[in-house]
Structures are given as C-alpha cells and as structure tokens.
Symmetry: C2
Subunit: 563 residues, 2 copies
C-alpha cells in the first residue's frame, strides 16, 4: 500500500494556515500516487492548544475549518488529527478521523491521555472507548493517537494506565497499525521511540506507520522522525528530524493478522526517571532541536530579529551561535554592557564572537547608570558593604537596557541562563533572567561547553572564541568574582542536579555519594529559588525533566527531609 | 454524636509542623468530649503538594510522619486527610483514613479527581474505587473527599465525571456523610458551597459534616467555612472564615437511612462559566481573603516585612492598605519614586496614604538614573521620539530600585497590578510587574475602587486618600498621561473582560453588545500579552477564573476568529 505521511509544522489556532498546509500536502501526496494520507495528532489545531479548547469561538471556528477541509478531500482517504466535541461534557475527544469523498467516514478517539510531565490532556479531553478497526482500501487498520502506543505492559515496569489499546485492535484482525503523534523531543527520545515502535511492530508482526509533528511551540520542540516499520520490526523509511517532510512509501500489508501468539518478550525498559542514554551525536541533535525552537518561537510570535546580551562568557556565546544557526547572521544582534568589574578581555571576547559570527554588536557601559543608582540609593541605604544588592543592581540595569533596545527596535530578547544556574538561582530575577525565551535553560553548564565545542567543530572554524571556552565562568558582578566562589565546581554541581532533578533520586542517595554539606547547600538553593523559576521565560525542553510546565512545585513550602 | 472538626492551616511538606498541629487539635477535641475528630483533606501534607509528591524522600518522610502520628491516636477515632501510595503505579491515592487505638482501621480514596481550573489531581492521584461505609461508634459513615461531593447529576448541567459517589454510600445505609476538603476560595463560592451541601443533606435526609482547610498557598486561599448540616439541610454550625477554628458540636445521627426515595429536586445550578453571584458583603470577604493570602505567603516564605512602590494611585494604595490589614503597620514599608512626569500631588498622595496607615515611606527620585540611562542609550538609539521605550525605562528603573531595597533589607516586594491591566498588558514586564506576590491581580479595576472604598468604611476613617479615590488613573510615564488615553474606559473594559474571561462567552456575543473596534482591540491586547503573564508573580485568586494556573494559554498562537 502506498502511504503518505504529512510531517508538518502547524501554528496553534491558525485554522486557515493549518488547513491550507494539510490540503497542499494531501494534494501533493495524491498526485504522487498515495492511496492513504496521514497527518500528525491535532494537525488542524496545532499542539497543545491548551485553554483555547474551552473557548466557544475557537470550537466553532474549528468546526467550520473541518467542514471546509472535509469538502475538499477526494477518494483517497485522509486520516486527520483533530478534536471532536463530547456531547455531554465540557471535555472533547482527541481524535483521528477518516475523511473520504467529502465525508467523515470514521472517528477514533485517543484512549490514553497523558497528564504527566508537560502534558495536561485530562484537563481537556475525555478518554475514548476501546476502538474498532477501520477498513481502508480493503485493509483493516488500527488507528491510535500518540500515547495509545506507549503502554505495553511488557515494556514498562509501572504502567501508567489500566490497559493497552493495541491488543484489542490486533484481536479484531488489524493488518496495519497507525499512530498519529505530537511527541515532544528530549535527549535520547528519538532512539527510544524507534526501539519502542520497532518492538511493537515485531511483537504483533504488523506494519506500523508513525506520523509525528515537527515544530517549536513555546518551550516544546516536536522533532518529526516519523517512521514506517514493516511487520518484522525493521524501520524501512524515516522522516527528517526537526524539519517538515512528506514521506511517501510502499508498505506491505499482510492479508491476515494471525500472529497473536507472539513470542518476542519485550524487556522492561522503563527508565527509573527521565534520563535516557544519549546517542553519539547528541550535541548535533540538541543543536538542531534548539535551533528549531528558536526559529519557530521567533516566527510564530511575529518577531523578525533577536537580541542577546553578550558578556564574553560561554552561555551568551552559545545562545548567540545557536541564534545565528537558526536565523542567520542578519537577524541577530549583540549588546555588551561592561561594568567596573568586567575584565578588559570580556568585551574583547564578545567582540571576537560577534566578528566570528558576523553579527552586529553595540556597547553600552553601565557605569554611569550604576553610579547614578548607587548615589540615589545612598540616602536610603546609608553606607553599605558590598553585597548581593549591588550585584543584582548591575544585572538589572543590564536587563533594563536590553529591554529598552528590544522596545525600541522590536527585537526578541533571548535569555541565556543555563539549567545549573536556573536550578540554584544563580541568576538575577529581572536582570539576566529578562527575555522572552530561555534557549539553553534545559542544558546543564557542563553540557553547555560540549554543545559549544560541537558548534565550533561543525563550523570547521572558531565561532565561539577559545578564550570563552577556557576561562573560568564568572558573573562579573564583583571584583575578581568566579562562579565557583559561590557554587560547587560545575562537574559536581551538575552531577548532583542531574540525579536529583532528572533522576528523581532519594535525597539519602545523594548524601551517601557526595559531600553532605554540598548536597545540603544545593538542595537548599533549589528550594529557595522556586520563586525565580515561577517568573522565568519559557525554557526550550531538551531533557526528560525541564523546569517550567514539566516540574511544578509550590513556592511556599517547607519540605526539608529533616535537614 | 459529638464531633470535632479541625479547621487548620498547614504548611506544605512540613510534616513535623502539620503533625504537631493535628495532634494538638485532636487532644484538645478529645479533652472537650469529642467522639470523632476530623481533619481537612491532605492535612498531613498541606495542599497542593504538587510535584513534591513524586519525590521519594518526600514520600518516605510522609510515611514516617504518619506512623508517628498514628501511634499517638487513642480510642477516639481520627479521620485524617493524607496520601497513600498506589502499589502498582507512580500515582498515589488522596485518602481519608481512620485512625484509632494506634492503628489505621480504614482507608477511603478520593474518587473524583478535579483536573480543571487550578487543579491537576490527575497528575498525582489515581481515582479510588467506589467506597464502602465505615462504622464508627455504631454509626455507618460515608467518607468522601472534596470533589466527591460535587457531581450531583441533578445539580450540574454537564457533569464532569461519569458517576456520583454519594448514592452508593446512601444505598449502603450511611447515616452520616463526611466530606474533608481543601477547597480554594473565590467570590461567591462560600454561599454556593453552603447551598450545594445543604441541598445534598436535604436530598438524602442525612447529616453532613464538611471540614475545609484555611490558609494561603501561593495564589490559592483556602477559606475554611466548615459546616455541620442536619438531615433537614439546615446548617447548624459553621467554622470561621479565613481563620483557624476548632468546631465541636453535637449532630443527631439517624438510626437508619431509609430515605432513598428523596423527593427534593435540585435545580440545575451550574453556572455557564465561572461567575457566581456576589453576596452583599463581598468586599469584606475579598478583603479577608486577600489579607490571609498576604500574611500566609509572607509567613510561609519566611519573610518579616513587605515593601510596596507607592505611586499615589489607587492600586498601590489598596495593596498597602491590605498589607497593613494583614500584617500591621510595623511590617509594611512604602517607597515613592517620582519622575519628571509625576504631578506634584502624586508624592503628596503617597505620603498622605502612608500617614493614614502609619507606615514608613521613603522617596527615591528616578530622574538622575533615567537621565543617565537615556544618555547611555543615545549613542545607540540616536534621537528618539517619545514612546513606549522611555515609558518602560522609567517603570524598570523603579522596579530595579524596589528590588535593590528588597535585596538590601529582605522585604518581600508586593506587586500592585490589577486584573484589568494584567489582561491587556498595561504594565511593564520587569518594571511594575516586579514582585513576589500579585495581591490584587484577580480584581478588575472597577472592583479595586469598591474594595478600597470598603476599607475606608471599615476603618471608619480615611485610609486611602479621597484624592486617590477620585483622580483619573494614570501610569504617569508621559506628560499628562491618563490610562483612558490608551485603554477603553474601565467600566467598558471590565465588562468586556469579565464576560470574555470569567464568563467564557463566544466572541460574537461581545461583538454584538459592544463597539466592535473596542472588542477587537481588547481581545488583541489579551492575546499579545500572554508572554507577560507567563512571567508574572503568583496572583491571589479571588474569582472563578484567575490568571496563572487557572488559565493556561500558549504564547505562540494565532487564533484570531477571522479578525
């Protein structure tokens, strides 16, 4: 059977745009001889539409768009991801519907609704009843939506749901399984997903077509990597990663499915938490993901250009380099804002970076403003020993200047904090945390260096200056200041953070394995800085556990584990 | 039967504190002759513990606290709200457990798990199976947890759940229904809840005991108002509002429940959206709620004092007055920061307010810093016409100064934006949006005036100066600027906002009822300012639909309803 998968990038709520894109893909696929065309999950709406789903006007416009699209579909069936209203509830169904000859001929609702990590599907959707196979071009097709494929009891140690929607479809004689998805990326997930789907295909001895969205949506990045898998479990065609793609391929569909007594035993693969093994080229994968996250946020929020405060340090250098990779040199602007405590070589490193990247850069010294602020505060404060007040003041003056530039010129300010800093609050709220998108907020500092080194290697030349890569990290807010004066060495800090946050380990394990005073300090900092993260910019998610919607903590709390 | 309800205020995760509080309440109740003692929902943990529930150390410490508490409970049974682990899932159960003679004798799990508005219970909990009645002191008791009582099919037009947990308990012969709750406050909810519970009691002809938490938790405010209701549906005892209370009362328990063929037909009361009628004393109710929200956030986050930027306008005046009501005069400090565009009387109004309230106040003119910033920016910007850049610059300098004071002195900065401003983005991110708690962020501007007038009336003298109450609102960021130069008149703006946000009406209704260009402008502003709200401080919720966790929107989206 000749099947087309529309691996597309949608805009949430832009029904005209999404409808036109789906229709264009459908027509191209039909012209290329496709006998069946498949979109990703919620293609007509974009994912995740969130509380727009509660708006009556949104739902009525969706109905209109669906009617219009349906009327334009011919004899080749289209499997479309969309929402259907629940007749007796405020909730809706997240559906795969079959459209053919201007009619909706079948409708299958998602049964397993993820409500963990970044997902809130129980807020919006009612779970579908176990579904029946759909006959298409003489084949019995089992339609599933994303999570429906992720609950094999042989595969997971602790299944999240009561049942697995796949076996009933197999029992009904399905000869082809289709999964439409909006599956967000994180490190290691591509390989994990391939393994999961290939094993399911082999287990049931059925071909599987997996169609995933691509695109950035606030902090989420959908990576594509759609798959055609034959009944032996071989991936015979793959969609591109982080790019739109139209996959058209022949898939052998068995005449019957008589292979229910499968012999393959799936190993238990559930990670204890959210850390998956990284592939050998993970730095490229992350760079591709973040580049897409940047370019889509800029495009979908109607910006043209981005702005980055360049300190001469590694974080801002990496963000600028990724921004250029995503948007090109013309659309990226840097500003360096030296203070009385900036070593002379910092501005030099920022200028060297700008030169290497080919971007424009301005300098605004903060000294006159800082001096004016200190002198305005002196009557209130009296003489004050140096401290966090003055340090934060400098960071906030910088944030204010960057935002002034953003207001004046319409640039989106990218914020440059990394995950290590965000975890322990080593950042100034309303200062260096200013910005619309936290590009590397889900990368630990030790990984920041690795991705930076990769980008230099990928370019075949120095983009990020060698001096930036080698000097000791510093906030440069006090004389001779180094990050490691206040924080544990990053290798140690990141090891603790990774196990605590992503590995979700018991605190006692950490006390056993690391210096207790360091563990205590780090966990205390994480807890005390919840309020900063509550006001942080959206963070591009590239790990199994990202700050933001994926980790929801009370601010006012006093869990201390007796410490 | 002599029953005690512990209407208490817990701290999330502070097991030692919560355990001691519960035990003290239990012992006091037993000494007063109680035959049964009841806590609110999740008393041992505080509500909502959020992702702390996924932490292994949190769960093991909870187990230890529960064991310790259990050992200290004597022959009078304690009904305790706590979490029990699910043996085969990452999820847990939200339970009411019965403890007696140092043993857990029964355990009932919450069946209806709210996942709407501010609730994410499906993220954390597995739903309980239909429960059996528990025999206590010879009475058959039906135990329910919060939402379990909120799904009467006669009452709601569109039930959110498949079934109602109450009828099975009645059929088992329950002679007393108990509901333990952590039910957050909003305007009109107290009366609504009383009506709902009284009707249920009358419908089943059974007495009902309702025990609710009190306390502020980030943006949520639990209001208490526990209730004892007799089998005729009369509320015979009430817990205090917004305060801890120990309610001990006799309740007649029928010998049998033979009244299943009830005749009372419940009207359908479900509001179309989140607007409930306000009572005659709603301003006091809101003032009490916000006062508790302030004092608990301050206490639970370990602050001593609060800081407010006083502009002479109504919003900051109301916040300061509420802060004094919550904390007393000694713990509130004001700073006024006049600019070149502040009318002379603004600082005067701020000082008058401070004098009326008895709080300290400082003045920091922003002119020198503003001038330094403008002159630092001129080489980059060139000559610039007056505009949003310079306006925001002033607001951000003010935010920076307030945060410097906060860093220096450890005061919590309260932010003063109202719901109307937050909706349309008439606020400067990292400027006047700076602060740890948005006190009046769920009050429309027109309501701000009403609550302010009430506080003057309550005090029996002028707290908020008459001139502040009567002058036209202004951001004072440009010469002669008035809010209504940029925004529709607040009466019109608030009417549109209330129907769109809280009433969740179809956009077409608004176009029918208001000037279309105004509607278009307002809806466009709401949409374009989602990014600001994504970085806003927690907002104290006092309406059925508050910004923050109760309204989750994508930032990058393009739903326009064809406009």
């Amino acid at each position: 059977m000749r099947i087309a998968a529309l691996q597309q990038n949608y805009i949430i709520g832009d029904f005209a745009y999404n409808k036109a894109k789906i229709l264009a893909g459908y027509q191209e696929a039909v012209a290329a001889g496709a006998e069946l065309v498949i979109t990703p999950e919620l293609a007509l709406l974009g994912y995740p539409p969130k509380d727009l789903l509660f708006q009556p006007a949104f739902l009525s416009d969706l109905d209109a768009a669906l009617n219009d699209l349906t009327a334009q579909i011919g004899s080749v069936p289209l499997i479309l991801g969309t929402v259907r209203r629940h007749p007796e509830s405020l909730l809706a169904y997240n559906c795969a519907i079959v459209i053919q000859n201007g009619q909706i001929s079948a409708e299958v609702a998602k049964q397993l609704l993820p409500n963990n990590d970044v997902f809130d599907e129980r807020r919006y959707f009612a779970p579908g009843e176990p579904s029946t196979v759909v006959t298409l071009a003489g084949h019995k097709v089992g339609l599933t939506i994303c999570e429906d494929f992720w609950n094999d009891r042989d595969f997971w140690r602790l299944p999240r749901y009561d049942y697995d929607p796949i076996p009933p479809l197999v029992k009904q004689g399905a000869t082809l399984l289709i999964n439409i998805a909006a599956s967000p990326y994180y490190l290691g997930k591509v390989a994990f997903r391939e393994e999961l789907f290939a094993k399911e295909a082999a287990k049931w001895q059925l071909p599987v077509v997996y169609v995933n969205q691509i695109g950035g949506q606030d902090g989420l990045i959908f990576d594509g990597h759609s798959m055609y898998i034959n009944s032996s479990g071989d991936i015979i065609a793959k969609g591109a990663g982080f790019k739109e793609d139209l996959i058209i391929g022949e898939l052998d569909i068995p005449q019957n499915s008589a292979h229910i007594n499968h012999e393959l035993t799936l190993e238990r693969h559930r990670p204890d938490a959210a850390i998956l093994p990284r592939g050998p080229e993970w730095e490229k994968e992350v760079a591709d993901a973040l580049s897409l996250g940047i370019s889509d946020y800029v495009k979908k929020c109607h910006f043209k250009n981005v702005l980055i405060g360049l300190s001469g340090g590694i974080d801002s250098a990496l963000v600028a380099t990724l921004a250029v990779r995503a948007l090109g040199t013309e659309r990226v602007h840097g500003i360096t804002m030296p203070s009385r405590y900036s070593p002379d070589d910092s501005a030099g490193d920022a200028y060297k970076l700008a030169e290497n990247l080919g971007i424009t850069i301005d300098t605004i010294p903060i000294e006159p403003i800082f001096a004016a602020a200190l002198s305005s505060l002196t009557p209130i404060f009296g003489p004050t020993p140096w401290g966090v007040t003055q340090e934060n003041l400098q960071a906030r003056i910088r944030g204010t200047l960057l935002m002034a530039y953003s207001n004046k010129n319409g640039h989106l300010l990218l914020t440059t904090g990394n995950k290590s800093e965000i975890a322990v609050g080593y950042a100034t709220l309303y200062g260096d945390m200013c910005g619309g998108l936290a590009v590397i907020g889900d990368l630990f500092k030790t990984d920041v260096y690795k991705v930076a080194a990769f980008l230099n290697k990928e370019a075949g030349r120095e983009l990020i200056p060698a001096s930036t890569l080698t000097k000791a990290p510093s906030a440069e807010l006090a004389p001779g200041q180094k990050d490691e004066d206040s924080l544990p060495p990053y290798a140690l800090l990141d090891a603790i953070l990774r196990r605590y946050l992503e590995g979700n380990e018991h605190i006692d394990n950490l006390f056993n394995d690391y210096p207790p005073e360091t563990v205590q300090k780090v966990l205390g900092l994480i807890k005390r800085n919840e309020y900063k993260r509550a006001q942080a910019a959206p963070i591009l998610k590239v790990s199994g556990l990202s700050f933001g919607a994926g980790r929801r903590y009370p601010i006012a709390q006093n869990f201390s584990h007796g410490l």
